[in-house]
Symmetry: C2
Subunit: 129 residues, 2 copies
């Protein structure tokens, strides 16, 4: 179990945000499965050369989001609750919010909804450009 996640201290995005995103991504893509245990806060802190508190904050935040569960003295695990209907609704809401922000930013840059759709469509097959 080496090199689970990787952080870039030089990157402008704060460490805790990088880690949050990495964990979410790992779960979303199935690299971390429901019920699986995550590394200990101290363990992960050492591996990532980061303070234990930073990891703890991330775990706590993800628990509030309902995608992790933590039991003291035992560890932190991938929760199953993010699969049920209630959380899927929340998830949908987050998608809407993300798209809202996206549209706002785009329109401030002078792009129309169709510009965005075109650009997104062009990503369907080919990665490059």
């Amino acid at each position: 179990m080496s090199q689970i996640f990787s952080l870039s201290p030089s990157h402008p995005m704060p460490l805790y945000a990088q880690l949050t995103r990495a964990i979410r991504f790992a779960i979303a893509t199935g690299r971390l499965r429901v019920g699986e245990q995550l590394p200990t806060v101290r363990q992960l802190a050492v591996e990532l050369r980061v303070n234990a508190n930073t990891v703890a904050k991330v775990y706590a935040e993800l628990e509030r989001s309902g995608i992790l569960e933590t039991r003291r003295g035992v560890g932190t695990f991938v929760s199953a609750s993010h699969l049920d209907g209630n959380h899927r609704e929340e998830h949908e809401k987050h998608l809407k919010e993300l798209v809202d922000r996206f549209l706002e930013e785009a329109s401030a840059m002078g792009f129309s909804l169709d510009d965005l759709l075109d650009q997104l469509q062009s990503r369907r097959k080919k990665e490059p450009n």
Copy 2:
């Protein structure tokens, strides 16, 4: 010419960013037309209850982006250059970058490209929801 732009000091987005976006938006939507003069840095600073430097920074940044032109002792104006081919290419590049960030964030949240497309498609006619 009152209430050109409006800023929310309480909003988490910094004032300069709010103003930048507002100006870009005004130009993109035609509320500010090519060649039109913007308020003086001091004028606008007073109206928005903001320091003149804040406005100046925004004007300077927008000039670097090529969408404003400023002449000392005269004022600041909407540039015409953002219409020509060269700048349209830059603009296209920015769209790609925006979409890149968007896709990254979305995938970290577990959404697929198709999820995004669906959500965007549903915005085509109706605003609500």
